[in-house]
Symmetry: C2
Subunit: 392 residues, 2 copies
C-alpha cells in the first residue's frame, strides 16, 4: 500500500482574476450527486432542463443549445470547426488575445481569415466590418463580446445588423459575459454563441455552453466534408442531446452537468436583470476606486466590461511581487496581463459569485497598501472612499 | 425570482454498465475542494502529482503523460489528431465499435486507414498486422486493448513486437482497461496510450489520461502542418503541463483534477497488482455464474476482459424490459449492445469500485429472477451457486 500523496488542501482563494470565479457552495454540493449512466432517464431529464435554462440565459429559442464537454476553448473550437470548411473566408475581428486565438483556429481548420484589427483596449468599429464584408464573400464573421485580455466590451447591435444584411453567419465569443451582461442571441440575430461555465456562471470549469441558430445548423448539415473533430461534431452531438432515440456519442461528465444545473438555477433565481445590475454596480465602484488611486484602465472609456477590468501597472511597480503578495497575504487572485499586456497590466475580475461589494472594497484596500509599500504615491483610503461613494 | 427547477435527486444506481462505474465517496469529497486559479502554484503542484501517479498507472517514464480536458473520446481524438497528417497511412485494427470509431477519426484528420478486421467478439491476429505492415509504409498502428462493445481483451505483446520492428508508432486504446488490467506502456514499447477516468479508475467522466513516448513526441514536434485542433494540440498543452514557465492554454477543470487526484491515490493505495487480481476474481465469478445459467458470452474463450462481460440475450427475451426492470427494481444499470450487437447483447461491467463480490452475486440473482419471469428456463440459484464457488 502506497500512501505518499497528501490530502487535498489548497488554500481558499478569493478569485478576482479572469476566471474561474468563486463557486457557490450549492454548486459544490450538487457535484456530490451520484454519478449515473450516460443514458439514464434521470440524467436525460436533467440534461433537458439544462438546455431549457441555457436558452433563457442565452436569450434564445435555438433548439441546438447545450454545453460542450470541454472548457471555453473547446466551445470556441466547436463553434468554428462545425462551420468552417477548407477555403472558407472568415472575417475575424481582433482587438485582443482571444481574437488572435480565433484566427489561429480558423487557419487550423483550413479557413481563410480576413482580419479587422483595432488596437488592444479599443472596440472594433462597425464601419470596418461593413467595408470588409462587401469586399469578399464571407461565410462567417467572428467577434469577441468581452475581451478578457483587455476588459473591452464590444457593442454588438450595429455589427449584427451589418452582418444580417449579408449572407454571412455571425459568431460571438461570450466566454466572459454570459451571466454577467446581456447576451442578446435572438434579438440581435447572432448565429453562434459560446461561453464557459467558470466565469459569470460561477461553476467549475469544464463545460462550454453553446447555441446555434437554425441557419447555422442548416449550414452544418449541408457540409461537403465531415467536421474534422468527431468529439465536437454537432451532427453527432445533436443525436445525444436532442434525438428522439438518444444515441451514445461520448460519456458526458454528469458531475459537471450537475454543477451547471445548480449554477444555472442560482442565476435564474437571482434573475438575469438583477444579476447584470449587480455586476454593473460593483464594477462601477471598482473603477471609481482605481481611478481615484490614479491608476489607468486599459479599456477605452464607455466600453469597459463590468466583468473584467484591466488596469495598467504603474511605472516601477513589480507585477510578480504585487500579485504574489495579494495571493499570500490576502488569498486574493488577480490575473496578469496577456499577450501585449504581459507584465504591463493586471486583470481584475468581478464575475458571478465574486462580484460583491466586500470584494471590491477588499481588493482596493489591498492594492493601495501594496502599491504604497512599493513606493507608489497614494493618499490612504482614496480608493475605498471613492468606491464606497458609489454604493450610497 | 424564478424557482421552477427541483433539487437534484437522481436515484442511487449500482453501475454495472460499460462505464461510468461507481465513484468512491472520497472522490466526491475531493470535488468539494475549492476551485483556484489555473496557474495557482497549489494547483500546479497537484497537477505534477497527478502526472506522477498517472505514470505509475500507465507503467511508463514518458514525460508527456497527463489528463486531456475531455472524456475518453477526446483522448482518442487527441491521440490521433496529434500524430496524423493528411495522407498518412494508418493501420486500424477493427474487432468492435471503438475500432470503427478510430477509423472514422483517422479519415476526418485526412489519414488513409488501412483496415484489419476480425469478427466482433474475437481478437485481432498478430499475423494480420505483420502482413499489413510489410505491404505499406504505415505511420501508425491503432488497436483497442479492451473492446467495450464485445468484452474482448486484445493481447498486445506480440503485436507490439511486430510494430517495433517497423518504423510505425503503436497506439493503444485502454479506455476500459487502465486501472483494471495491466497496461504495459514501456515494457511493450507502446507509443501512445489513452484512457478515461470513469471506468476502472472510478472517477466521474470528463478527463482522458494520455501518454506519448519520446518517439511520438518527436513526430509531433516535426509535423509539417499544425494540429487541426487547437484544444488538443500537444505542442501547446505541453507548455501548460510541463513548461518551466507554465503558459495559459485553457482553463483546466480543477474540480475534475481534484477527483482524479483522489481516484489515483485510491488506486495506488490498493496497489495495482491487488486491484488487477480483484477485477480478475470478480469477473471469473460472474462468468461462471452466467455460464452456469446457460448464457453465452460474446468474447472468445481465453480473451475475455475482466472489466466487461458481454453476454448474448437469449432468444425470446426482451432487452428493453429486462434492463428496465433491473434499473427500476434493483437500481442496477447494465449496458445494452453497441453496433452489430444492438438489442442482441448485454454488457456487464465490473470496473473499479463496481467490481465487488456483492455486485456479482446481486446481478446474477437479479438476472436469474427476471429471466425466469420472462420464460427463460433456469434452475433457481444456479448462477449464484456457481459464482459463490469461485470465492471459496
Amino acid at each position: 500500500m502506497e500512501n505518499i500523496y497528501e490530502e487535498l488542501k489548497p488554500p481558499k482563494r478569493i478569485l478576482l482574476g479572469p476566471g474561474p470565479s468563486n463557486v457557490n457552495p450549492r454548486v459544490y454540493k450538487a457535484m456530490m450527486t451520484p454519478v449515473v449512466g450516460y443514458l439514464d432517464s434521470e440524467l436525460l431529464k436533467i440534461m433537458d432542463e439544462i438546455v431549457e435554462m441555457l436558452r433563457k440565459v442565452f436569450k434564445t429559442k435555438n433548439k441546438i443549445t447545450f454545453p460542450v464537454s470541454g472548457t471555453g476553448t473547446a466551445g470556441m473550437e466547436a463553434a468554428l470547426c462545425n462551420i468552417i470548411e477548407p477555403g472558407d473566408e472568415v472575417l475575424v475581428c481582433i482587438n485582443g488575445y482571444f481574437g488572435v486565438r480565433i484566427k489561429d483556429m480558423v487557419e487550423r481548420y483550413g479557413g481563410k481569415p480576413l482580419i479587422i484589427e483595432a488596437p488592444w483596449g479599443e472596440t472594433v468599429p462597425p464601419e470596418k466590418v461593413r467595408k470588409a464584408i462587401k469586399e469578399k464573400k464571407v461565410k462567417l464573421v467572428a467577434i469577441v463580446h468581452t475581451e478578457t485580455s483587455t476588459g473591452v466590451l464590444q457593442p454588438l447591435e450595429e455589427i449584427s445588423e451589418i452582418v444580417r444584411e449579408s449572407e454571412a453567419l455571425l459568431l460571438v465569443d461570450t466566454v466572459a459575459s454570459l451571466g454577467g451582461y446581456p447576451v442578446e442571441t435572438d434579438k440581435f440575430g447572432i448565429d453562434i454563441v459560446y461561453s464557459a461555465t467558470q466565469k459569470c456562471l460561477s461553476c467549475p470549469p469544464g463545460l462550454a455552453p453553446i447555441t446555434f441558430s437554425e441557419k447555422a445548423v442548416e449550414i452544418i448539415k449541408k457540409r461537403k466534408n465531415k467536421v474534422s473533430s468527431f468529439y465536437l461534431d454537432v451532427n453527432l452531438l445533436e443525436k445525444y442531446w436532442f434525438g428522439g432515440k438518444r444515441t451514445y456519442h461520448h460519456t458526458a461528465s454528469m458531475s459537471l452537468l450537475y454543477a451547471l444545473y445548480e449554477g444555472l438555477k442560482i442565476v435564474l433565481e437571482e434573475g438575469l436583470e438583477t444579476r447584470f445590475e449587480r455586476h454593473r454596480r460593483n464594477a462601477e465602484a471598482l473603477k471609481a476606486g482605481l481611478k481615484a488611486m490614479g491608476l489607468k484602465l486599459i479599456a477605452q472609456e464607455g466600453h469597459q466590461a463590468p466583468m473584467l477590468t484591466a488596469v495598467a501597472i504603474p511605472e516601477g511597480i513589480s507585477d510578480v511581487e504585487v500579485r504574489g503578495r495579494l495571493l499570500k497575504e490576502y488569498g486574493i487572485e488577480i490575473g496578469g496581463g496577456l499577450g501585449v499586456f504581459s507584465g504591463k497590466a493586471w486583470r481584475i475580475g468581478l464575475m458571478g459569485e465574486s462580484s460583491t461589494q466586500s470584494n471590491v472594497l477588499l481588493i482596493l484596500n489591498a492594492l493601495e497598501k501594496l502599491l504604497s509599500e512599493s513606493g507608489y504615491k497614494v493618499k490612504p483610503g482614496t480608493g475605498v472612499s471613492a468606491a464606497s461613494a458609489c454604493y450610497q
